[in-house]
């Protein structure tokens, strides 16, 4: 299984001179479910692009599975870290759903029954069964986005990175994405997701990292990150804790970032 370690990472975009990351230190264990939150422009996407070699550090090191990313080729990194872009149209290009989903595993030299099974599982995980022969551009934007997720899932990389996976999804689409994250993590694979949806974050991830201006300002469980004593830090980057956390704090039942957690905490006195 693949551990990620980032040491003293800084990134300066050559074209603009913008220092998008500054002194990032981070260790993510195999199988962790990690949400990365913060404002647009806080460095979230820049950070995850270092994990699969799309960007190289200006300073510092990135280790993927114990190997310095600099020593790995882009192809080697792509086999370890799958990245799903926010905009599926930057990613989807094949003529059918099946060929799109098979493209990644084919590039990893999978073939025959193994390839077919990987594609079938990924298509079913996002609910696109029956659409195998459909042209991706005949799917709506939200299903095309689920297709982009399936095409990376099919590579069965030890690390899966999702950039804003729930934007444009309806209630069922968000549920699907949540189920995929949990299933991948249950197999011991790591999931890292960038999201602005605090409710999805609180309900789906076991660790929440908050970025502001290229630095990490909070890193903990959802209960820690959304606890009342962290609100000033959250609000300094224009994030609002989920409603359940705000109500829990007002009721004095501790940090309860999910609806289920809040309800359980409110019921606890009844039982005693």
């Amino acid at each position: 299984m693949t551990e990620l370690a980032i040491v003293g990472l800084a990134h300066v975009y050559a074209a603009s001179g913008v220092r998008a990351l500054d002194g990032i230190g981070l260790r993510i264990g195999a199988g962790e479910r990690v949400a990365l939150i913060g404002q647009n422009g806080s460095g979230k996407t820049t950070l995850v692009r270092h994990l699969n070699g799309l960007l190289r550090p200006t300073e510092g090191r990135v280790f993927v599975g114990g190997d310095d990313a600099r020593a790995l080729t882009v192809a080697q990194l792509a086999a370890r870290v799958g990245l799903v872009f926010q905009d599926p149209d930057r990613q989807v290009f094949s003529g059918s759903v099946r060929s799109e989903v098979e493209f990644g595993p084919r590039n990893l030299s999978r073939s025959g029954p193994e390839l077919a099974a990987a594609a079938r599982e990924a298509i079913s995980a996002v609910g696109l069964e029956g659409h195998e022969a459909t042209n991706p551009y005949d799917l709506g934007q939200s299903r095309r986005k689920l297709l982009a997720l399936a095409s990376v899932l099919a590579m069965r990389t030890p690390v899966l990175v999702l950039d804003e996976p729930t934007t444009g999804q309806d209630a069922r689409g968000v549920d699907r994405v949540r189920d995929v994250v949990r299933a991948v993590s249950a197999e011991g694979r790591t999931v890292i997701a960038i999201s602005h949806d605090m409710r999805f974050v609180a309900e789906t991830f076991e660790r929440v990292i908050v970025m502001r201006a290229g630095r990490i300002i909070l890193d903990g469980t959802p209960a820690e990150t959304f606890a009342a004593d962290a609100w000033d830090a959250l609000r300094s980057t224009y994030l609002e804790p989920p409603l359940a956390a705000r109500v829990g704090a007002r009721r004095g039942v501790g940090s309860t970032p999910t609806d289920a957690g809040l309800i359980a905490a409110l019921r606890a006195p009844e039982r005693s």
């Binding site: 647009n40 309806d170 605090m198 224009y238 609806d259």
Partner: protein, 269 residues
């Protein structure tokens, strides 16, 4: 001033079933109407029809009528409609004029095409850029902005046009909570100025904030309509595939657990 849709049905070219059926809708001065529905329920199609772009620019067959202040606009050319009805597309990159070299020019482009005098165009442009907090990007190339920045830019362009009617298709999809709040403010500002607004959104928390009434589409038909607070609390919303706002879900969870819902109200009653 009212934009009126009556008995609207719509079928995309080559589609096996209609995308919209029997849609009646009134968009009146200063009113904000929310539009929700599961993916592919017809929200984007309704946005295109209400703005006059469908079938004019995308083909397909339409039934029913679209009236502006009582006048049938069926034969109006697109440019004449565009002066009265603004639209913000789901993908803000689609919105860009492709002719402006800077963010400032991009925002100024709309009001300039309306024949508004130069000094006023400049005033409106700065005001819109400041409202969306992108005045610092005025000299940047619109094509080189992030998706979120382009979404704020598209909204600034619409603010500067001050259209009588405005149709917004998921205007906050790529925005963080701070950007979403800016769009909500912009919608309020336009509505107070008399613009009628139809806004399609997955974020029901946002609809609860900005809209007075709303409709919910299911398979191309209006399944629910009414005041926002009533529609968003309707138990059928889940079956339709629309996530209720946080407050509604939390309240339901409390009731299901046998708790007094007042316990989970955001503020003390």
């Amino acid at each position: 001033m009212t934009l009126t849709l009556r008995g609207i049905g719509y079928r995309h070219a080559g589609a096996s079933r209609p995308a919209l059926l029997d849609i009646d809708l009134d968009l009146a001065d200063g009113r904000v109407v929310g539009l929700a529905g599961a993916s592919e329920a017809g929200k984007t199609t309704l946005c295109l029809v209400a703005s006059g772009l469908a079938p004019r620019t995308v083909g397909g067959r339409i039934r029913g009528t679209l009236h502006l202040d009582g006048e049938d606009v069926d034969r109006w050319p697109m440019h004449r409609l565009a002066e009265r009805i603004g639209i913000g597309f789901q993908n803000p990159a689609t919105q860009l004029s492709q002719v402006a070299g800077t963010v400032f020019e991009e925002v100024a482009f709309g009001p300039m095409n309306l024949g508004i005098d130069r000094a006023e165009v400049i005033d409106r442009t700065w005001e819109a850029l400041e409202a969306m907090r992108i005045d610092g990007l005025a000299e940047r190339d619109p094509q080189r902005l992030s998706g979120g920045q382009q979404q704020l830019l598209a909204m600034a362009g619409l603010l500067a046009m001050r259209p009588e009617h405005l149709v917004l298709d998921e205007p906050t999809a790529q925005l963080d909570p701070a950007g979403t709040a800016l769009v909500a403010d912009a919608i309020g500002r336009l509505a107070r100025g008399g613009t009628s607004i139809l806004i399609a959104e997955q974020k029901t928390d946002l609809l609860a904030d900005v809209a007075g009434e709303m409709i919910v589409l299911a398979e191309g038909r209006i399944a629910l309509r009414g005041p926002v607070s009533e529609v968003l609390a309707d138990p059928r919303l889940d079956e339709i595939g629309v996530a209720p706002p946080s407050a509604v879900r939390l309240r339901r969870a409390a009731v299901a657990a046998g708790l007094d819902p007042a316990l989970v109200a955001e503020r003390a009653a």
